[in-house]
């Protein structure tokens, strides 16, 4: 009787210890043993809002709900044999490093995708998430830095999604300009087109090299003077749809302007695939999404209206309706990660 009871007690104790122990042994002893000694293994987790990052941090049930995960910067040395294990902590993502010759891999929840490559050439390479994964998507990118042993390459600052930090609050639909600015930031357009439409974000192997800027929209629409631009904006605010035959504003070549406007709006609605610079090279990672399912027609107007106001005219003060042109700053207080980002994009690998 006593023996049986002892066996029972022992089995309870063994069980309580062995389950966590077995899990940990499998994960931290067995799994690493399946790789070769010289391989450098990185376990990367993709996480969408609010972090918008590929992270090297471990994401589990306990920390997922409150923590913002740091984007990874992969520091490698020439000659490293690298294995990347990619998994997702929420929805579907896609991992793409065009300049390293790594094709896009779709990272779906529940499956670990493995990539392996050898670090060959010194430089800074950018990785991207290339399937839209929520509002932080355009900031879900970072750096793979390959150094030579005696000649380390300085790693650029990581790219952090600034969108979820401040609560913008949705402006009313009637405040078109505020709405445009809000949407431009909230939807992550800023991630690729830059703050205040400045552009300057490099798109590898894209025919024009950089993602188009939007502070030149006024020129693209052939609005040549501040007065014309102001008239057009006013007209846009008061009219539900374009083009209209009656009460057209007194703007030179208005039909032409409105045709350009329509074409611009069409690109925003239907998206576009970037043209390759080197036809045999990799697909450019940044592409213009089709926003037609996400936004209402009027919201496209609001965004383009915002672009028109981004133009810097020389004689700002004298213009009628200049209040439209007030620049607003909606950046989170303190750092400005974005400006750093565009600086660095210009210094990428040779």
């Amino acid at each position: 009787m006593v023996i049986k009871e002892t066996i029972a007690v022992l089995s309870v104790i063994i069980l309580l210890i062995s389950i966590p122990l077995c899990i940990l042994l499998y994960q931290y002893v067995f799994v690493p043993s399946t790789y070769l000694q010289e391989e450098r293994v990185f376990n990367i987790t993709a996480v969408g809002e609010p972090s918008g990052a590929y992270t090297l941090e471990e994401i589990n049930g306990l920390n997922y709900w409150w923590k913002r995960f740091a984007p990874m910067t992969l520091l490698l040395e020439v000659g490293d044999q690298v294995i990347l294990n990619l998994k997702s902590a929420d929805s579907t993502h896609q991992f793409y490093v065009p300049e390293l010759g790594l094709d896009p891999v779709t990272v779906t929840p529940g499956k670990v995708e493995t990539l392996s490559f050898t670090a060959e050439k010194k430089g800074i390479y950018q990785y991207f998430c290339t399937t839209m994964c929520g509002d932080c998507h355009t900031f879900m990118t970072g750096w793979i830095v390959i150094s030579e042993k005696d000649d380390p390459v300085k790693a650029p600052h990581p790219i952090v999604c600034p969108l979820c930090a401040p609560d913008f609050g949705i402006p009313p639909q009637t405040e078109m300009l505020d709405l445009g600015e809000y949407l431009y930031q909230k939807l992550g357009c800023v991630g690729c087109h830059g703050w205040f439409g400045k552009g300057g974000i490099r798109n590898p192997n894209y025919a024009k090299q950089y993602v188009p800027a939007h502070n030149t929209t006024t020129d693209k629409l052939f609005l040549k003077t501040p007065e014309d631009a102001a008239k057009f904006c006013k007209w846009l605010i008061t009219h539900e749809s374009i083009p209209q035959s009656e009460d057209n504003p007194d703007i030179p070549m208005f039909n032409f302007v409105s045709a350009r406007y329509q074409a611009l709006k069409d690109i925003a609605k239907k998206g576009s695939t970037p043209e390759k610079l080197d036809k045999t090279g990799p697909e450019p990672p940044l592409w213009m999404p089709a926003w037609k399912f996400r936004l209402a027609d009027r919201e496209f107007d609001a965004i383009i209206l915002y672009f028109i106001t981004l133009k810097k005219w020389e004689e700002d003060e004298e213009i009628e309706g200049a209040d439209l042109f007030t620049q607003r700053v909606m950046l989170p207080s303190g750092s400005n990660p974005i400006s750093e980002r565009s600086d660095i994009s210009a210094v990428t690998p040779a």
């Binding site: 389950i19 994960q27 589990n60 049930g61 997922y64 709900w65 929805s91 579907t92 529940g110």
Partner: protein
């Protein structure tokens, strides 16, 4: 078997079903038209969430997604799509014949099957992904009308039969002894097994092992519910088994192997394998008595409702489930230390409350073979006597008349010196007595919740899911409305309706001696068979739709990328989803049938006059049929 009574019932039933189908069908065939739709997927619903076409229509669908990658799996039509936000072409395949997806701008097919087919998200898109559902209805919707006809049929056939019964035999027939099969008599080996101390110990140990694994997985595993074993096994597999098999066929057999009270009971007994031989053993601990005022299932009712208010979060977030399981284990242990025996299980465990109600319907019972033996014995069996522990559930097994508080722990069988306790098989719904309001309210809570959950989890309404999904959507006012719906409808609306039925019943039957309160309480048993079977009808889809997740998580329990058995990457494919209706509707119709026939038995106990008995049943019969109709609307409309 096929007596005249049954034949008439079947005939009436089939006539009603057939008539309803004819009623639904326009006699002129509508020529097929082209119907165009653009479905926008958004966490966690589709817009439009219901698509209605006519049979023969040529359906053209385009897709768009506004947040993350979503899927589209249309059951019954063999179509699976993957929708990437920002891209106008989408991927599509016919899952039964193709493994690879192709890019298209539009899918087109002919609506050639009648009825309701659901489209679901097939790509994990976030917490509520398994409940992202839309509905595709091809009219005329024969299955729906047939089901409604079925309700009318069951109702009509039942009342026709009892009315005929009344005309034929006014004299009460000799009550035949209730059907019971003594399992220990026909299978002595079963008794050997159940009373073998290691048997229960090993069952508990296995469940404890699972509990430890689940809690570990919940805290440290993947935050994605359908890729974490704690969610797939607890809320899909365990829940399905508990509701569909354990309760109806095994009563509270789960309580026998439940790991929550393991440590507490170990503390009380200081032994794991039964008392130590012949000497009288005593149970340790502070052995306090639970306050008499709280010695009912009200606390369990409220705790269960609290859990259910957060169920959407509970069943989709591993960490929430892990906290709840840990909390239950700790509370159980603490309560076991201070209070006597299984006080926690009887008065506090939120799962135990509804099990105590539904186990009344179960087909298994532990009872004494001969009441007289127990009376003359001097209740030695309910105290620890060295062979067994005496009933941990604080009841006198010899006098037991209801399954409610019997945890099937087999201690009375172990300790009975006269071999008088036994395990018996019996017909479904054999205990028909509800004597207390707490149990009646549990019945209301359960039936209301199953209706609400069918709408929330199996329905296409994204707003409801958004309200319920507080922690992700942050819609506080929506969540308050949602709480209001759950609490008010289960604690107030359902009882008020029942009370109305009770008043009407009293008026119609015209008897002064029986109070409306008594009618209210007695008839509330009718909610037990219908409730249990509609919970089964709710749980079966959970399993059939999501079973692949269970298989996958056995290979990769923590979502860490393991592949122990090689099937971690099994593709999600639901099991015959388009035929779910043909399981659900017969189940609730059976529930309705049982509710009516048990209601008739109850009314015969209340009234000596058969006409009065039948009349008094009518309002309840109508109310219970209405509940069935509501459920069928969710299943088939």
């Amino acid at each position: 078997m096929f007596n005249k009574k049954r034949m008439t019932a079947v005939c009436i039933f089939l006539t009603c079903v057939f008539a309803a189908v004819c009623f639904s069908s326009p006699f002129s065939a509508i020529p097929g038209k082209r119907k165009d739709f653009t479905i926008i997927a958004k966490r966690y619903s589709y817009q439009p969430n219901r698509i209605i076409v006519n049979k023969g229509d040529s359906v053209h669908i385009k897709f768009g997604s506004v947040d993350v990658v979503h899927g589209f799996f249309l059951e019954g039509y063999d179509i699976e799509a993957e929708i990437h936000p920002g891209k106008i072409p989408f991927k599509v395949r016919h899952p039964s014949v193709e493994t690879e997806f192709t890019y298209v701008d539009e899918i087109a097919f002919t609506a050639d099957r009648n009825g309701k087919f659901r489209y679901r998200c097939s790509v994990t898109c976030g917490t509520l992904h398994p409940f992202m559902i839309g509905e595709f209805i091809v009219r005329p919707n024969y299955p729906f009308y047939a089901s409604i006809g079925g309700v009318i049929g069951v109702f009509a056939a039942f009342f026709f039969n009892v009315a005929a019964d009344r005309r034929k035999s006014e004299s009460p027939g000799i009550a035949s002894a209730p059907l019971r099969i003594d399992l220990f008599k026909i299978m002595p080996a079963l008794k050997e097994l159940l009373t073998y101390r290691w048997f229960q110990f090993i069952l508990m140990l296995l469940n404890l092992a699972a509990l430890v694994l689940f809690i570990f997985a919940g805290f440290f595993g993947s935050p994605i519910g359908n890729h974490n074993i704690i969610i797939t096994v607890v809320w899909i597999l365990w829940w399905f088994f508990l509701v569909t098999f354990m309760i109806p066929f095994g009563s509270r057999i789960w309580c026998m192997m439940c790991p929550f009270p393991f440590f507490g009971e170990w503390f009380q007994r200081r032994r794991l394998l039964g008392p130590s031989g012949s000497k009288v053993s005593t149970v340790k601990g502070y052995k306090k008595k639970w306050p008499a005022k709280l010695s009912n299932i009200w606390i369990q009712n409220i705790l269960f409702l609290c859990l259910c208010t957060f169920s959407t979060i509970l069943v989709t977030r591993p960490v929430t489930t892990a906290f709840v399981l840990t909390g239950l284990t700790l509370t159980a242990t603490v309560v076991h230390i201070f209070f006597r025996r299984r006080t926690f299980c009887r008065y506090l465990c939120p799962i135990s409350g509804w099990m105590s109600l539904y186990s009344k319907a179960s087909m298994l019972e532990i009872r004494s073979r001969n009441n007289g033996v127990c009376k003359s014995c001097g209740s030695k069996a309910i105290i620890d006597n060295g062979r067994g522990w005496g009933c941990p559930w604080l009841i006198n097994p010899g006098k037991m008349t209801s399954n409610s508080h019997c945890g099937m722990c087999m201690e009375c069988i172990n300790s009975c010196p006269n071999n008088n306790m036994t395990l018996r098989l019996r017909p479904f719904c054999s205990d028909t007595v509800i004597d207390h309001y707490d149990e009646a309210w549990m019945g209301f809570i359960m039936i209301t919740l199953v209706i609400l959950y069918t709408a929330i989890f199996l329905g296409p309404w994204g707003t409801l899911k958004e309200w319920a999904n507080l922690t992700e959507m942050g819609n506080v006012s929506g969540f308050i409305i949602y709480c209001g719906i759950i609490w008010i409808s289960s604690l107030a609306v359902a009882p008020v309706l029942w009370l109305t039925a009770a008043w009407t019943s009293k008026r119609l039957a015209g008897s002064e001696t029986i109070s409306a309160r008594k009618i209210f309480l007695k008839y509330s048993y009718m909610l037990v068979p219908l409730g249990l079977l509609s919970w089964i009808a709710f749980s079966i889809p959970l399993f059939m739709i999501n079973y692949t997740h269970i298989i996958a998580t056995f290979s990769d329990p923590l979502g860490w990328g393991w592949n122990i058995f090689g099937n971690a990457h099994i593709h999600w494919s639901p099991l015959l989803p388009e035929y779910l209706l043909y399981v659900q509707v017969p189940l609730v119709l059976t529930g309705l049938g049982f509710a009516l026939s048990k209601g008739y038995a109850i009314s015969n106990d209340l009234y000596s006059d058969k006409t009065q008995a039948i009349i008094s049943l009518v309002p309840f019969g109508m109310l219970i049929s209405l509940i069935t109709v509501i459920l069928i609307f969710f299943y088939a409309w």
